[in-house]
Symmetry: C5
Subunit: 356 residues, 5 copies
Amino acid sequence: MKHTSTADKKKTVAVGLPPGTLVLQGQQKVERTTITVCEYSEHSLQANTVEKIEDCFPLKDKPVVTWINITGLHDINTIEKLGKHLSIHPLVLEDILSTNSRPKVEVHTDYIFIILNELSFVSTTDDFLSDQVSILIGPNFVISLQEQNDIFDPIRRRLVQSQNLIRKMGPDYLAYTLIDLLVDNYFSLLEIIEDHIELLEEELLSAASTKTLHEIHQIKNILIRMRKSIWPVREVINDLIRSESTLIQKSVGIYLRDVNDHAIHVIDTIESLRDMISGMLDIYLSSVSNKMNAVMKVLTIIATIFIPLTFIAGIYGMNFDFMPELHWKLAYPALLFIMLIIAVIMVIFFRRKKWL
Amino acid sequence: MKHTSTADKKKTVAVGLPPGTLVLQGQQKVERTTITVCEYSEHSLQANTVEKIEDCFPLKDKPVVTWINITGLHDINTIEKLGKHLSIHPLVLEDILSTNSRPKVEVHTDYIFIILNELSFVSTTDDFLSDQVSILIGPNFVISLQEQNDIFDPIRRRLVQSQNLIRKMGPDYLAYTLIDLLVDNYFSLLEIIEDHIELLEEELLSAASTKTLHEIHQIKNILIRMRKSIWPVREVINDLIRSESTLIQKSVGIYLRDVNDHAIHVIDTIESLRDMISGMLDIYLSSVSNKMNAVMKVLTIIATIFIPLTFIAGIYGMNFDFMPELHWKLAYPALLFIMLIIAVIMVIFFRRKKWL
Amino acid sequence: MKHTSTADKKKTVAVGLPPGTLVLQGQQKVERTTITVCEYSEHSLQANTVEKIEDCFPLKDKPVVTWINITGLHDINTIEKLGKHLSIHPLVLEDILSTNSRPKVEVHTDYIFIILNELSFVSTTDDFLSDQVSILIGPNFVISLQEQNDIFDPIRRRLVQSQNLIRKMGPDYLAYTLIDLLVDNYFSLLEIIEDHIELLEEELLSAASTKTLHEIHQIKNILIRMRKSIWPVREVINDLIRSESTLIQKSVGIYLRDVNDHAIHVIDTIESLRDMISGMLDIYLSSVSNKMNAVMKVLTIIATIFIPLTFIAGIYGMNFDFMPELHWKLAYPALLFIMLIIAVIMVIFFRRKKWL
Amino acid sequence: MKHTSTADKKKTVAVGLPPGTLVLQGQQKVERTTITVCEYSEHSLQANTVEKIEDCFPLKDKPVVTWINITGLHDINTIEKLGKHLSIHPLVLEDILSTNSRPKVEVHTDYIFIILNELSFVSTTDDFLSDQVSILIGPNFVISLQEQNDIFDPIRRRLVQSQNLIRKMGPDYLAYTLIDLLVDNYFSLLEIIEDHIELLEEELLSAASTKTLHEIHQIKNILIRMRKSIWPVREVINDLIRSESTLIQKSVGIYLRDVNDHAIHVIDTIESLRDMISGMLDIYLSSVSNKMNAVMKVLTIIATIFIPLTFIAGIYGMNFDFMPELHWKLAYPALLFIMLIIAVIMVIFFRRKKWL
Amino acid sequence: MKHTSTADKKKTVAVGLPPGTLVLQGQQKVERTTITVCEYSEHSLQANTVEKIEDCFPLKDKPVVTWINITGLHDINTIEKLGKHLSIHPLVLEDILSTNSRPKVEVHTDYIFIILNELSFVSTTDDFLSDQVSILIGPNFVISLQEQNDIFDPIRRRLVQSQNLIRKMGPDYLAYTLIDLLVDNYFSLLEIIEDHIELLEEELLSAASTKTLHEIHQIKNILIRMRKSIWPVREVINDLIRSESTLIQKSVGIYLRDVNDHAIHVIDTIESLRDMISGMLDIYLSSVSNKMNAVMKVLTIIATIFIPLTFIAGIYGMNFDFMPELHWKLAYPALLFIMLIIAVIMVIFFRRKKWL
């Protein structure tokens, strides 16, 4: 289980640039920018992929909700045009492009701007990917922007169903479903991690190796990362609920509170898992000590039994002229017997010490 | 002492499903759904087990308090009918079925919805079980829902007694007794854990083994789990007390504050036990080091006494032609005496170092 | 230094019992219930020991302050009568009898109910005892209840002095003196613990043993216990000060604030001591490692000097026919000299490594 | 990677001096004081370096924004004249000169005084430098003061561009750009540290040495230092936003909130990195234990195989007259074979224990 | 670096004594009580040492500010008279004498009572001393009381200067200068500790010994102690600023806020140093492990090379009749060569393992 965060590693902070300078901070991750547009009302739905952002603009004034999703942010031109058309504050555009911002919400008069982090597990590469998702909520549109991979397909599938609640409600509810999807993603991640922890616990009991330690370390780092991503989300959703913006209707409040509960649950679970992980580290370290103990005991037993015996053999290997024992008939078997006695005493001593 | 939490392990987060989609998240744990209904007023009590949830519905408008308890949540049909009959918000129904939610309270206009966690110890299997208990409080009814095993038998037995306070008071008081039972359960668990810790402390002093370590680790994990379950309860009860819902009467406030004090006491005790557990870990680790020390001392004493003596014996085992000592008459006994002196000096040295 | 808490160990949580069921939770600790009554005004004082609680009841309406102290709570009958006479809420009576509650204050219209913990050190048995003290403050009475041993003798002695402030003031001031005594008890405990820590620090520097470790562990546990007991006291006193009950007069506020400062000072000191204790643990653990190091060095020095020499002696103990050195005249003294040189080089090497 | 903080080491607290006594606390770091003045309005810009602070004073009343930057604070005379001219509170002047203050904001009626810390990495010397930057915001001027090296060049370059936002807005916006630059500097530092941590993680896996440990320690200390510097910045900016001073216009609020988000992001990242660093320490310590284990195993294997064999060889090296085996023809090869068997058994034993 | 706190060690808590009983809690530290009186206005200054406290009393009503400093608190009579003359609350007098109170402020109608701790380093004895300083602020007087050594000399020297700000302002400003001096003292202490830590860091890298560990431990304890002393000061000053007492004029507020910033800076620095100290402990512990590793390696290398060789020598020292090799002509040099080869192989093996 690895975690790759190219956004983190290659971000180039543009120190000293004027705020609002549009530079993509973070690595370009996809080949081309994809723009999908969904226009829907309770009774109609139209979904398209457009080439240029300009193609969406006339859509804005129709009496339907328009959801524009942009995947791939390196085409700064697109973002700039979008910003100009909707008169987005330059700082917002800068945040959209920084791809490594802290989750936050900004309530402007004409729109609400939300930044969240997406964390996903790519099972094929056994790898964690992180991405920034920006959401703009307007009076009759929602714009979602992401750098890496489009994760909003499930929402699109739900939109197709004509009886769906999204179709009946406004852009605020659509934004809620996007946020809910992002938060629920953390649950899937936590499940994967919990499974992994369980495997590691079994490994710890049977055959802990350095590999186990590095995996514990890696999970710890992923949890640190997740915590950093999800922690501010609580605040974001609370700010959304408390904001007195007319863009968020009262009826959506209960849904936002629900997603807030989920976020808190994720945080609680992360904290619990971190506590468990730190317990596993203690077990690992003590298992290393225990192994050393076992090794030392073997060495000590062998050495303590044979070193004195070797000394006695050495005595009778000396070449003194006058060593009367050497000439006794039963000396040799007697000595062997004495040596046996010594060995037996040693073994009894070790048994008492519970080393054998 | 193990802890099994099938709910945790097998929960399948339905990422991307619309909110309010009724899917049982968590493993099905009981064969069939059991529905028990108690209707009571100060002077009457009627308790039944019904087959279908529809059988309860006419009961709702009678001038008595109706308590419906549903054990086993896999029969989604039942939950759906109940929801429709009482016009429960779909998100509430979803939370009831998720069986792994964070404890919370939601005050709706017509009802109050409470989620709590139940933790119980099954002595036969030496195992901890966790379950989610949902409580709906209405103007003249209480509905409790649980997945696993019905734990509300003591309440039913109390209801039978005609002089009981529950019979005199409204559904809010009944809900309080349910919550109180759940919180008191934690005390029983803590008692079991405290006893276990005491045993482990004695084991630590006499004969700490790897088993001891794993048991310490397991208790630590159970405490982490308990903490995660009980921590939000404080908040839940506070929200209940502060809620200005007409469903909670003032006279019940003092009882809720009491159960809140209990919850805080549980949290305090968990924190203290966690501190103690971490102290035990330190003791264990240092006992491992101490054992190693003891082993090393034995090895060092034996080696340090006999290695020099073996060397001396080796000297006189050499086959040089001209070694005058070999032909001295008293050389052998003299050498044995010298060896004894060396051994005695070594022993005195070790005594000084307090190794013997 | 041990700590015994029978209350903790034997408490039997009455799960599922109705609130207000009067069962003594905790072990019975004294043979018989003792009831002492002090009636006092500025100019009069009458102190008695009564047999039955009923003997106190007519006292209640006299224009004096009545202080009833009950030691030994197993006589549930007494508590029940008292409760009925003063119309105490059943939950309050339950809390009085549970003997293991969390410190708290409850402001009722007719009385204020306070629970505190008492921790005392019995020097004869080198043992810590914990007890719960309940205090009921009424318009002209104070009732204190404790299970184990009567600790309020100093207050009684002060009451005898006619110029005493207690005599001049109301029951609220008497309650303050009781609380003050309980909090000051913690200071005495901390002094005992500080002395013990100082002894342990000296022991650590001179001769740390496993006993030292267990004593450190025990002090740590006592501090955890004290912290759990004193922490909520702050809150209790703050609630008392802020309560707008007419039972607490303004002039007593400054005294309560003073005892609050003391409680905070106790907490600060406990935290500091815990930090110091954890530092001592580090020292202990590293002293164990250091000892091991010293042992290993001795072993290594001996082995490293003599193993090569023994090998050389072994060479010349071989029985090959053609070993020309064996027949050289000066071979033996030369070899001894070479061995000496090797030993000296080894010693110099060890000096350089600062092992000798 | 080292960090040098001469300001920290050589600060001489002037204990007992009257407040407002102007003494440069901290080492003099630059040769001479440099004073640069920029006067700008939307359509004009004039930048100069002046010799004496007096040369700036007439500038003050012109209908342009004047930005005075002073690098090098040892010329107390300059600061004093400035203070007198603008009637700055003596405590503010003292804080400017202390060069080691905690970041803070003080809102006076005529000006706002801000202290921030600057941390920068000098790649040539592989060294971290810290400096204090003081900012005074007035109705039509901004004065920035720093001891060490002028870091505001990027701002000056931006000022030159006539279309720049700074030129269009007031001194509050200029102050924001200065603060933003300082906060963004932390991001660059964090990037350097993250790269370093990544290198260290690889080193940990391949070849951990004492050097690795010291580098981990050093990064930890730098993070502690950064945290101490950036933590109060949050507060500073919040105070600025909430201050009802007319010197901060509403339109600048959104920019300040943005820089506040950046500061919180820096803090979050520092916390995450500290958690990761502490995980690396655990890995390092366990790698040391693992190495010891490996060493011990080699020793034990060698000793356990050869010590018994040497003993057997010793037996047949004894010189007893009556040792029948010595005269058997096949004794020697048989013994060698037995020795081989013993060695093989030992090896099998070690394989089972997974030591080989 | 030691720290002595006789106040801590010998404090005798007067459990059960009535509040306001004047007993000096803490050891008597100075021979005699010294009372110094300064009367000053903007244009006059009169400083005296008086024998009896009564000599000061007529001073009180003059139109000047009177500063009475009392060093040595064992003369309870003096304190009592002072208390009676100024009608100080008995609890305040008790706090003055306890010499080990927690820093606090109490705003009474006629005076403000402040307790602070003083920590100073006596370089001659390499010792830390702690003392309690009590300050009473009245409408035209300040009374400072301390047990041990008079630290307010610098203030007195400043008073002499006629242009001094203290002379122009009221008793509240004088109290500020006293508080400022006490807080600045902590900075001097921190400087000493920082220097010490730097020395220890160098020691850690070159030659860590048990002494280093004990010094780290001692600094840790001093920091714990300092933290306990300075932490409440923040609160004290905040309470002073927020108090609406007429005894504190608005113009002094800015000075108090400044000293508050200093206190927070001290706390931040203490926290940073504690973090660094705990990092040093880790380094120390791992350096102990590393040393052990080095020792073990030497032992293992020597043993692993010579034990097999000694075994081989032992083989050819056996006395079997039929050992053909013994009679080969080149057997001896050949064996020596084989031994050399074995040793070389071993050395290569160790090189590969990077042990040599």
